[in-house]
């Protein structure tokens, strides 16, 4: 742990933190409140407190207007998210390791390409990418959502890990080389533990972003039984029909739970860096 000890006036800190936290949490609180409200109530008041407490919206929202319940959609989401996280972490760590530590031909060019791929708006790539996957024959399946990640195409994460790694001294790696590590062992036994906070944030981001991703599944998935939560959430919002907002909101709240849980589970690792250590003196 490398947290700074807070010395004085903790209550002042709490006060400021609390105030800011309220601003941050406002939408969540509002969402929860709104899940108990009628449409009219939702649109007329920005307050939190509903006039009645009725969990019906949750039950109805969960059942959905489709052939499937949200259990299916959650499962689908996890079927996309979990493999994707795994392949992302593996490929991105490998590639980042190469960029941060190795010398090889074309490194600069490849690095530039990596940064470059993030700079074209995704919208214009949507159609060409769709055509690519159509050619491969992967439409209406999860592969287009997962497989590219296995090839470190989520360059945001690669770049993130590269920057972290470049800031970590090489001493331990040298020691491990002497201890007989080959490159992969070095990566696994030394670099990964040192990079843990960064890797954990990659996992959290990938989880939350994939859970929230709307466009990807929208384009590539046509079958309702394959929809993830993000698509299913908007299933019953037509343009011209009455929407029972409470149901939609209730299920939005539920949809947040996995992400929040993941964040909670992960967060102690953001602040448990291993590399800040060494001998005291």
């Amino acid at each position: 742990m490398n947290q700074v000890e807070a010395t004085r006036t903790p209550w002042l800190r709490y006060l400021t933190l609390g105030a800011v936290a309220l601003v941050m949490l406002y939408p969540l609180i509002w969402l929860v409140g709104a899940s108990f409200k009628s449409n009219a109530e939702i649109f007329t008041s920005a307050g939190f407190v509903p006039s009645q407490l009725d969990f019906g919206a949750y039950a109805k929202g969960w059942k959905t207007s489709t052939e499937y319940t949200f259990a299916t959609y959650f499962l689908n989401s996890f079927l996309i998210t979990i493999p994707r996280i795994v392949v992302t972490v593996v490929s991105c760590v490998l590639v980042a390791y190469a960029f941060a530590r190795f010398e090889f031909w074309g490194k600069k060019t490849l690095f530039a390409i990596m940064i470059g791929t993030m700079m074209l708006p995704l919208i214009v790539l949507r159609l060409p990418q769709y055509l690519v996957f159509r050619e491969i024959g992967w439409l209406d399946g999860y592969l287009p959502l997962i497989v590219p990640s296995a090839f470190a195409t989520d360059t945001f994460f690669v770049f993130l890990l590269v920057q972290f790694l470049r800031g970590i001294p090489r001493d331990m790696e040298e020691a491990a080389q002497i201890d007989g590590c080959n490159a992969l062992q070095l990566l696994w036994h030394i670099v990964v533990p040192l990079l843990k906070p960064a890797i954990i944030s990659v996992i959290v981001f990938q989880f939350i972003w994939t859970m929230n991703d709307f466009m990807g599944p929208l384009i590539y998935l046509a079958s309702v039984e394959k929809y993830p939560v993000s698509l299913a959430l908007k299933m019953s919002i037509g343009a011209t029909e009455e929407v029972e907002w409470a149901n939609v909101i209730a299920i939005s709240v539920v949809a947040l739970i996995p992400s929040v849980l993941v964040f909670f589970a992960a967060q102690k690792h953001f602040i448990e860096g291993a590399s800040s250590s060494g001998v005291k003196g």
């Binding site: 007329t44 207007s65 949507r126 769709y130 055509l131 209406d140 046509a222 019953s236 037509g238």
Partner: protein, 413 residues
Amino acid sequence: APWVHAQGSRTLRFAWWGGAARHSATLAALRLFEQRHPGVRVKAEYMGFNGYLERLTTQIAGRAEPDLMQINWAWLAMFSKRGNGFADLNAQQSVLQLDQFGADDLAYGQVQGKLNALPLSFSARVMLWNESAFRRAGLALPRNWDELFAAGPAFRRALGDGAFPLDGELYDMMLLAQTWVQQRHGTPYVDPLNRRIAMNEAAALDWVRTYRRLVNEHVCTPLPLRASLGGAEKPTEQQPDWVKGRWAGNYTWDALIGLRASTLPPSEKLALGAFPTLPGALDSGLFGRPTLMYAVGRSSPQPELAARLMNFLLCDPEAAKILGRTRGLPSARSSLAVLQASGGLPPLELAAHDQIQAQRLAGRLRRPAPLFEHARFLKFMREVFETVAYGKTSDLDAARRLVNEGQALLQRL
């Protein structure tokens, strides 16, 4: 080969968007269809409205669109400029009961001689009033333009600055103003048949001025006000002022009556208004077009089966019963009859339907130009009227832009 076709020729893909009620009704109808056609499976690809067009666009560009799809009338002009964007239904006449539709209805789905789509229902503009609010203001419901314009100041006097007789977003008010011009000059903005602006500069000036008058005379909610309240395009029923009965009317699609009513407390009563008409008007100026349409994918390997499904959904009496009003009051006569016979149709909506049909039957509803609701063109019109609404331009300049730039733009679409 694309996956779509690899699943055996007896699977039909059918895409639509909608809300909860529409989904469950449609799914039920599809089950019936499958029962009737053993060996056929209908793969329902349904979702909310959000993202539907994006997906459809991608699929069409990738030639992987569903066999049968629900579309908007305006999309015909975008996806099928020369009638080649969707399958030509004329080839499927044998399975389609085209006789259930009026000629005018069919014409909406026609592009350069090809029948690209069939309408599900028809929607046009109506005046929707909150009777209770008018009563509170001590006013009668306006029946003509003068009474409408007069209602503005009267409302302000009676209920204060924040009360308006009429709400509507920018597009609604543009259409309302256009109605006035159409009644007066006998022509809409865009020529329905040719790619050209039909209004001359004087008519366009009137259009702008009418819009300005609506705003200036406190008849309708001004654009900046709506924007400041949480977004210019926030629908009326989500406006607290509407819910509280301070905004007393809405110029909108008849299909939206139920939606608008949904957030109103029981104490507020809605009524259908008379459609304002200038004395001696040749044309009602009413703006209407099919609410939704069905089209068959141009690359569908089984257009016939798709057409069968389409026909089933449009015209089959049992399907009509199951589907009910989930896509508006059906255009197909038989289906409408089924619904009317089974009763239970909300009176207000029925009245609106009748009001519109009366105009249509009288030939006073002119088919709008296909490009009028083209996204690019809409954006242009809105842009001009937005500058008017924010006082960034003179009426004359706006009118000139509408005529000149509009003309240029039309050529390029």
